[in-house]
Structure formats: C-alpha cells, structure tokens
C-alpha cells in the first residue's frame, strides 16, 4: 500500500519528524495549504513516489479547511478560538476517517462480489467500526435524499394532498391548540431528533411560495377531513391565513 509523501516534511513546525511511515493517510505528510513557502514542496510531489500512482495535489487530499472550520464552530461557543494547528489536525482526521471507513466498506463490497461501493456499505462499515450512533441519522438522511431524487419536482408539489392529510397525525377531538402549533406540516415523520446541525433555523422545508399552493389545494382536503378536529376542517384556510406567505423563512 504505497502512499505518496512518505519522505516529505510534515507541515507543522513543531513536528520535525518527517517520514512517519506508520501514518496511513496520504495527506498529512505534506499539508501546506496555508503556507506559501512550501508551495514548491507540493510540486515536489512530482518527484516523489509517483511511479504508478497519479500525482494528487495537496489541496485535493483534504476537505477545504474553511468548510471544516465552519462545522467546528457550530458546536463551539461563539467566544471560542481554534489554533491553526488544531484546524489542520481536524482536517487531516476527516480525511483519515473517510479512508478508514472506505477501506472497510470496500472490503465488504468485494466480499460480496460487487464492484461498486454503495452507500449501504458505507453505513455498514461505520456501524462495524464503532460509529453506530451515526447509522440511524445517516439512514434517515439517505432515505430523504432518495425520496427527493425520485420524485419529480412537479410531483413533489402535487403531493400536498397526502401531506396535508392530518387524519392519522392529529388526534380527533378538541384539537384547536394542537392545530395551531403545527408549524412544519410537510414531513411529520422526519422530525430531526439528532444533532444534524443544519444552519437553517426555523422550518427548513417550508418555502413561503409553497404555502400558496397549499392554500389552493388544501380546501378540498380540509372539508373532507371528518376525522380530524372540526375547528381544523372549518378553518383550514384561516389556519394558514395567520402565516404570512410573504415572510421569508430565515
């Protein structure tokens, strides 16, 4: 398993140990995305072990550090600071994580005589390697992605009838206050309970332009909802009337 960059200096000044061949990742031997003085070091990759492996640019071996730092800041208090070395370390860890999981997933796909590493292989590998608590959120994420990819854009808009069907979700009886507190009504079974850390706040799935469509198509379902609360059936338009369609969801 020949990896490039074995003999190249490490990026950190306080780590003079160059050829840590125990390292299993490509990238941390030469990591100089922010150091212009080492720019020649990256082109020096061309002279390093690049016989049978195409040259990989340094900046291609890791996630962009800005993205990494943005995600880090999501879980840190606003006053917290991060050293450059810490940012780069996390950046390297992410690449190592990807390689680690991919290796296991690839073994599984090969054992099962498949040529393609699938998303299920990835999730399985995470479970096997100790990241079980990632499995459920990732399965939900994958399911939602597949749904959004499978449904045509226009079909998604036409699906407001089953989405507006509050029969099973809303208990019968006096449910006035409950109806009023249903802000994101689109996908009630996809309530994110886990820390996905979306940057969007408020109802992410509720685009204001969709409200108008629901208002147009909702009246027919509202009248047919004998099982749900009477207040909802009579006031289906007024219920959304309080919601300002022109307001931008932040």
């Amino acid at each position: 398993m020949e990896r490039m960059g074995g003999g190249l200096p490490r990026r950190h000044a306080n780590s003079p140990n160059p050829a840590n061949s125990n390292n299993s990742g490509d990238g941390h031997a030469v990591g100089n995305t922010s150091n212009p003085a080492n720019a020649t070091g990256s082109t020096g990759n061309n002279t390093a072990q690049s016989t049978h492996r195409p040259v990989v640019r340094v900046q291609d071996q890791h996630m962009p550090i800005a993205n990494v730092v943005r995600i880090m800041r999501r879980v840190l208090p606003p006053h917290a600071k991060i050293t450059e070395a810490a940012k780069e370390t996390v950046q390297e860890c992410v690449s190592e994580y990807i390689a680690f999981i991919t290796a296991e997933a690839n073994q599984r796909s090969q054992r099962e005589q498949r040529k393609t590493v699938s998303a299920e292989d990835i999730i399985w590998a995470m479970s096997k390697l100790g990241f079980e608590n990632y499995v459920d959120p990732l399965n939900v994420f994958l399911h939602r992605y597949r749904e959004s990819e499978n449904s045509d854009r226009s079909q998604f808009m036409k699906r407001e009838h089953p989405l507006m069907d509050y029969g099973p979700a809303v208990p019968s009886g006096p449910a006035g206050p409950q109806v009023a507190m249903m802000p994101p009504p689109l996908l009630p079974h996809f309530v994110p309970e886990f820390p996905l850390g979306f940057e969007q706040r408020g109802p992410p799935m509720l685009d204001p332009s969709m409200i108008e469509i629901f208002l147009d198509g909702g009246s027919s379902t509202g009248a047919a909802e004998g099982g749900s609360s009477s207040s909802f059936g009579a006031q289906d338009k007024n219920w959304l009337g309080g919601f300002d369609p022109s307001a931008q969801s932040k």
Binding site: H12, C93, A119
Partner: protein, 120 residues
Amino acid sequence: MRQPGRYSGLTMCGGISGRTGPHSLPLARIKKIMKNSGEDVKMISGEAPIVFSKACEMFIEELTRRSWMTTLEGKRRTVHKDDVASAVVATGIFDFLVSLVSGSCCSEDITLVEIETLKS
C-alpha cells in the same frame, strides 16, 4: 444568510442536488479521498459521497466537542492541537487516528495512555 432556493430549500439544505450549500462538504473531494484510500477502490456509487458528507459533519462535530471538553478542563478558550489529540486518545472509536495526532506529542506518552485505555 443565504436563502435556500425554491427547490433546494425543499431538499436537504441545498447540498444534495450537487451544489455545495453553505454547510456541505464538496462531493468531488470526498470521492477523490475515497479513491485514494489505497484499498483498490474501483467504483463508488453516487450516494456514497453524499452519505459521507453528512457523516463527516457528524464526525467533525463529535471530535470538536470532545476537544472542547479538554480545552475547558485546561480552563482555556482556545482549542489547541493537543486538545484534539487528547480527545482522540480518550475516545475508543478514534483509535485509528492515534498515530496521526501523535506526531506532536511524545510517542511514549501516547503509548502509555493507549495501554491504559485498552486496559479499561
């Protein structure tokens, strides 16, 4: 804050259709790292980098949280590389990262902590 588009706002935060929203990780880069993992990875399904983008977010968040705990123990407000290293060493599932972060620490100390961690 960038507003989600009419359709991208309906999907998962705009990063699924291939565009990288303000929070997503670049799928092509993920795919490149997967291919370079050196394990003779032949073909990768289109969904795999997408799953990884979310998984990496969760990974970064977990690693950062644990590092921050070490920072707080030291009564500091700046996360240092050693805090990240301590978080890696203290977490069993991050064992694959120990050699990566041990470059700046004394390898002997790391070995001792590894043995203690394995014993417990």
